[in-house]
Symmetry: C2
Subunit: 253 residues, 2 copies
Amino acid sequence: MTPFTPKLTEAGLNPNVSVDCVIFGFDGERLKVLLIDRDQVISAKGDEKIYALPGNLIKEDENLDEAAERVLFELTGLEDIFLEQFGSFGDPKRLTKEHDSQWLKQIRAHPEARVITVAYYSLIRADQYELHASGFAKDAIWHDIEELPPLGFDHSEIIESALKELKFKSKYQPIGFELLPEKFTLGQLQKLYEAILNIELDKRNFRRKILKMSFLTPLKEKQIGVPHKPARYYTFDRDKYQSYKSQDFYFTL
Amino acid sequence: MTPFTPKLTEAGLNPNVSVDCVIFGFDGERLKVLLIDRDQVISAKGDEKIYALPGNLIKEDENLDEAAERVLFELTGLEDIFLEQFGSFGDPKRLTKEHDSQWLKQIRAHPEARVITVAYYSLIRADQYELHASGFAKDAIWHDIEELPPLGFDHSEIIESALKELKFKSKYQPIGFELLPEKFTLGQLQKLYEAILNIELDKRNFRRKILKMSFLTPLKEKQIGVPHKPARYYTFDRDKYQSYKSQDFYFTL
């Protein structure tokens, strides 16, 4: 974590357009989202802090995708992450709440400017990346999606929308297999889907449907040293998986 | 069509953010897209005109959806159309082509400002709306999607992206049934899908798959006075159709 001195010079930044990144992280059990601690305590409520998505104004000379990559890296240290744009948010009042205005006055040259944000999302393995908070991020922390702290701006709405997109995506194409260990049980795969969809799935139904995916390969190997009946390990064929992803395979006329 | 006097005052407009609308129109046979004639001739090529999507800067006091509705209405006269946001486009050089700069100098107070555009799309019946070009649109015209004229800015890319979204959408949920007559044949329905997907579909396969949709109701009535074997008419149940649309029905774990 680098100490941050707020600077009111923002040469080269577009005052009206920002990017925000919703980084979902799966840790093998639960779905989390990456938030930055913007070092602001809500005074009325004592020591409760306000968190925010990693996001900032775009530079005049970069495109939106580049801005998202840069901002994510600058605030959290994450890089080489596949970011997908999923929507833009432009309520004229999205930055005008009291504590948001206060914070903007510390870090922006034009804190009163209206900002439209272009939002990106990604799903990564939460425990396989090192985080390095920097800039105006005092810290970068994974938060359980079900227990979010107070968030700045319209970031709750943006996370909600990203989550909807993620759930939707998981229904029409395989998703997140790359977040599992090299060999995994169908139980682990089910946990991934349950974390994304936030529901409990029927084990038998899940297995029947998921095994229709031709890129899943059963191994001879089974679990050892477990207190229950050892489960079979599976791998997946990355080439087939990718071609599955790029096809429109669930409803082809 | 109202005569347009370019005004270099744009009080209340945000200089950096615009909306653009990709309105697809189905006329019973083909897929079209609505373009405005921005009254600019490419001099080097003689009388070739440049067209554009209906789009303009957002007002400071409106949200993005409101801006899209307003701009579409102001330029083309279309209103009460369901517009869906599908992406934002922000290449720093998207407005810098020579003929685009020239045109912007006529209509914008800050023609050199970088503009990020938030794009919306819709699919409507092309022959059931009256068009009234106004503002800087000299005319508003349906163009066959396969034969587009020269387009300003990055509007080819935006249309391409909207088309991808439309095709994709048609694969996972029923789409466009409301564009068909009250009673229609499966042949007419097939034409709709062929226009959207821009491919020829196998008649037998199409029927087999489409009839699985429980909201399609066969009527006793058949075509009369046709030179071929008369086809049966169908209607669709709008309530069931809507609930179908809102379900995740193609791949539910």
